[in-house]
Amino acid sequence: MIIPILKVTNLSKSYDNIVGCKNISMSLYPGEVLGIVGESGSGKTTLINCLSGNLEPDRGKIIFNINNKETDFLNISESEKRKFIRTDLAFVHQNPRDGLRLNVSAGGNIGEKLMSVGYRHYGNIRSLATKWMNKVEIDKSRIDDLPITFSGGMLQRLQIAKNLITSPNVIFMDEPTGGLDVSVQARVLDLIRSLVNELNLTVIIVSHDLAVIRLLADKMIVMKNGTVIESGLSDQVLEDPQQEYTQLLVSSVLNV
């Protein structure tokens, strides 16, 4: 039997008296891509912030199981948690400026991430950084340039390289193509898709765009008012939705 890489039970988070997310339970298996959809304010960001350690939930359980090592995410010490987040998790922000340091060169951004997990040898760091610039289709001659000289699409690709270079086990993405032009979006999506396939990544991706979910996600959950109202295989939820709200969501876009 395969053990879920992430198992969430009855997770809840409120902001004073505003519900962020409520009673969320779900499992994710190694190599799966989970899509999260739902209207603005439905709790998508709250949920993945709780799962990735950016927010402390009020209640619930988060268990990671990576290479047969179980981590009870909400019951470990702060230092263990910080180390776990650094080595095993990655978070790709909607706005690449939130995930990069803009006053540090492209290569420096990537190098810092490597050093944070223990890389020391300058030559190794440099060559790995170059390899990843290439992987995300940024010309390696730009390695010493500051990110502020990059286009939005390039910045997002750089953020992705920075996040994936250390081979994290679970990757969170919050609207990774949200702030980009449609033409640039296709390229970033295509990159994510090929990396997911090539590296067999386990990913949780938030997107309001059902076409993105259809393209990338094996499974999906639909959120409304902080709760999960429907979940299943992406093609099943999109083609044969069982809830009124999901049907409305699906029917309001063409050709997903």
């Binding site: 395969i2 296709a186 390229r187 295509d190 499974k219 044969d240 809830q243 009124e244």
Partner: protein
């Protein structure tokens, strides 16, 4: 073997005054290894719905569909994903084109996803592209701009590239000329000769005859 047992399927359209479309009540049939079964019946009777229930993309309201001793109706999402990967090939009626991915990559992907090495996947895919009579200058282009028949053949290649014990074919010969139709028919026959269980929807008598199918007339099966 595929066994469809006492299956009910309906759709409730919540946003259209909760209209309920009942497609099947108590549907039963079996497909043996190496057999080709053709689903027959007028448009809207539920042919595609059957394939989608077997593949897990439509919910089975009631009853069971048994494949490899597993009941699709009760499997979890990740169990269905696994079953698809190891056992079920599905050729939808139309190719869902992915922007920027070449025809060759579209075909190689199922192999790479199940751990085949690049070189092997490449060789197999090239052979299939040749067998399917796809012009070499198209291999490295996105199928987005291909003709209907070319897209359909890419879709078939993607469904046929792995050796899987079950194949679901939704009108695989629909938009093809007679030469290409015969090529597809021969590929389907070859799969069948290797013991694959096949359920297909074939709009034309010619394909059904050539493939020596067993017909399941849904007009009769769904009368109650």
């Amino acid at each position: 073997m595929i066994e469809v047992k006492k299956v009910n399927k309906s759709f409730t359209l919540f946003n259209q005054n909760n209209a309920k479309i009942t497609v099947f009540k108590n549907l039963n049939f079996k497909v043996n290894p190496g057999e080709i079964v053709a689903l027959k019946g007028p448009s809207g009777i539920g042919k595609s719905s059957i394939l989608k229930m077997i593949y897990g993309s439509y919910i089975i309201d009631k009853g069971a569909i048994i494949i490899n001793n597993k009941n699709i109706a009760t499997l979890s999402a990740q169990e269905i994903l696994k079953l698809r990967k190891t056992s079920i090939g599905y050729v939808s009626q139309f190719l869902k084109v992915i922007p920027r991915i070449s025809a060759l990559d579209v075909i190689m992907e199922p192999l790479l996803n199940s751990g085949d090495n690049k070189n092997n996947a490449y060789k197999k895919s090239i052979k299939l592209l040749k067998d399917l009579n796809i012009e070499k200058n198209l291999w490295h282009l996105s199928p987005l701009t291909f003709s209907g028949g070319e897209q359909q053949r890419i879709n078939i290649a993607r469904g046929f590239i792995k050796d899987l014990p079950y194949l679901l074919l939704d009108e695989p010969t629909a938009s093809l000329d007679s030469r290409n139709r015969d090529i597809i028919i021969n590929l389907i026959k070859a799969k069948s000769n290797r013991g694959v269980s096949i359920i297909g929807i074939f709009h034309d008598e010619y394909s059904r005859k050539k493939l020596n199918v067993r017909e399941i007339d849904l007009n009769i099966e769904t009368k109650h």
